[in-house]
């Protein structure tokens, strides 16, 4: 008998009500909470604001609103709390750029000492605060297996300070500190960090990646993360119209292209081993992802840099191979199977 598969992209708006209660999307619930209220100062089309709201709303539902958020310095912190206003509807603490995981550890330790283990802790920050300046604290939190979910909203650079390169900036991308000049324009190849892999190397209970193109998947992973205790890591790709030089109405589309080209593998890992991946149904060449973005415009100028595009394609090919992104034998996660 042939197995029938239903695919649905985006919000599940139509099919959501047919699902079991626990599987229905958080955002479709008329009684849902709003972790991050409207009125904040994020740019139009901000992927981070979208990702943060979906992720934290899911955590709120999973914990019955018994949660505390700790935020690293960065766009998310700045646009959400311009004194004396705040967009947060959860208890929220911002300390410094590089210490959010350790501050989250402190909150978790306090709650444990007070016997309030029902209250769960989420640390969050951008890629600069996570993979660069905050890495030591994050690694310490992982290594101690503290009861914290840390979410990195990865937009591939220091966007809050004006689009400088971070350890998560993709190869070839132009930033204000890796400008599109010289024989090798944009960010150097052979540099940068793969933080989900670093997280997995700590053998923590749960590591997952997600994007704002598949918000149902993001909700699922934030929810699933709360079923574990100990250190958990969620790495969310969040396009930045400002830094990526894309139109503000293309955020979700660009994120989807990142997954469909194999640039950004979406997967789940438990105890350091990949347990599920999001399959690519219709694989696209990386040029489809790169070309709409101003940060890669130098690859498509009067003299197209086919050589650079080929190197990026090779990286995507590697992701597809390593994670089995098109391999029918590799298990598919989530409810869509």
């Amino acid at each position: 008998m042939e197995r029938v598969r239903f695919y649905q992209i985006g919000s599940y708006a139509a099919g959501n009500r047919l699902l079991d209660g626990e599987l229905q999307t958080v955002q479709s619930d008329t009684h849902r909470t709003n972790s991050l209220n409207s009125g904040h100062r994020a740019c139009q089309g901000c992927g981070e604001a979208l990702g943060a709201r979906y992720a934290l709303d899911a955590v709120m539902r999973a914990t019955g609103n018994q949660m505390v958020a700790v935020n690293a310095t960065g766009c998310l912190e700045v646009f959400s709390t311009p004194y004396p206003e705040t967009a947060w509807q959860v208890p929220w603490l911002h300390s410094l750029f590089g210490n959010a995981p350790a501050v989250a550890t402190g909150v978790a330790a306090a709650l444990k000492a007070k016997g309030r283990t029902d209250v769960r802790v989420v640390g969050q920050g951008g890629d600069g605060g996570t993979v660069d300046i905050g890495l030591a604290c994050l690694s310490g939190m992982f290594e101690r297996n503290d009861d914290v979910l840390y979410i990195c909203y990865d937009n591939g650079g220091y966007m809050n300070t004006g689009v400088q390169r971070s350890g998560a900036t993709p190869h070839g991308a132009a930033t204000t500190t890796t400008p599109a000049v010289g024989p090798q324009p944009g960010n150097d190849f052979g540099k940068g960090k793969n933080l989900p892999a670093i997280a997995m190397a700590h053998r923590i209970p749960y590591v997952a990646t997600a994007t704002v193109a598949d918000l149902r998947d993001l909700e699922y992973k934030a929810t699933r993360a709360m079923k574990f205790h100990g250190a958990r890591y969620l790495h969310v790709l969040v396009p930045c119209p400002l830094g990526w030089r894309t139109a503000s109405n293309e955020t979700v589309k660009i994120a989807r292209l990142a997954t469909e080209t194999g640039i950004f593998p979406v997967f789940e890992a438990e105890d350091g081993e990949v347990v599920a991946v999001s399959k690519i149904r219709r694989r696209l060449p990386v040029a489809d992802y790169l070309q709409p973005q101003g940060r890669f415009a130098h690859l498509f100028g009067a003299t197209p840099r086919e050589d650079v595009i080929a190197k990026i394609q090779a990286e995507a090919d590697r992701n597809v191979r390593v994670f089995g992104l098109t391999d029918p034998e590799v298990p598919v996660h989530g409810v869509v199977s």
């Binding site: 709390t81 208890p91 929220w92 603490l93 210490n99 501050v103 402190g106 909150v107 690694s139």
Partner: protein, 414 residues
Amino acid sequence: MLKQIEGSRGVAEAVALSRPEVICAYPISPQTHIVEALSTLVKSGELAPCEFVNVESEFAAMSVAIGASAAGARAYTATASQGLLYMAEPLYNASGLGLPIVMTVANRAIGAPINIWNDHSDSMSQRDSGWIQLYAETNQEALDLHIQAFRIAEELSLPVMVCMDGFVLTHAVERVDVPEQGQVDAFLPPYEPRQVLDPEDPISIGAMVGPDAFTEVRYLAHDKQMQALDLIPAVAADFRAAFGRDSGGLVRPYRCEDAETVVVALGSVLGTIKDTVDELRDEGMSIGVLGLTSFRPFPLDAVRTALGGAQRVVVLERALAVGIGGIVAANVRMALSGISLHGYTVIAGLGGRAITKASLRRLFHEAAADKLEPLTFLDLDRDLVERELQRTRTTRRSGPAAENLLRDLGTRVG
């Protein structure tokens, strides 16, 4: 209960009696014995409920304390020297957020050259971090100040640093009176935070503040330290009533009345200075000592009262503000503005150099005769320094100064 124990052990017991709920620890000498003792108390279940978090750096230690304190827990950590500098950023953050963390600083020099021995360079470098700074003279006072520190911190919602001389106090075994748990409980009520991360009443802590209110936020921090000028003596008085001994307060004058010469200092060196002063008094010199227990807030009025009648003031400090000289001296002079007297700054005991009675006697005699340089480096080996200066004048690639000095000393000893 009277015990013959190491200073670090006494502090650990005082901290444990204060019922901290989160302790974070990163090893650095000479602070390590304190957290080692606390880890045993927590691990054995003797100190409960309490979470002991082994962190990966001092930066993380203070950050964990920040999170714990904001979540309503009584939080404690300890550090020294390079560790204090490594936590400089969260140090300012803790005070800026108004989180009543208590921390021991086991005072130690700062490199380079690396040096593990005692001076006050570390805590003095953070004097403007917004933390209250109390300096212990003895192990008993170090122990007592920690119990007082939690009360002061939580009353004002400000962090407090208890500074005790590394090795000189932390590693010295002497008799201390360790209070009973019931006494401490009566003196130190449970922590009732002014702000707390609570899902039932969600608030945002740590918002971005622009020019519209930043000055006011900073002013309030200053105002709280001004309140501490009243609170610190009040807590010391309560402590005396409850425990029957003098510990803490703002300043500690000793034989200052009618003294023509008053020596100002902080920390354990006060013991040696007092012994020397006793001898000099017996010999007829009009000399006294003013010990500073509170350096932040700086007790301008109390210092002015204690020193206003003197003819000369000798500030002896275990730290150096390179390029000008004294740190404590500059603050003392602020207290004496408008009063005409001779002021001397003496830099002493850097990097663990012993401050001996013989050196102090010589120093105070020179001071009393007003023959002292305005800025004096006690027991400086001037010949050694001059030889290195000569090397740098004659040789372009003269090499690392510290190694040159050691080699020079070695050849001369050999």
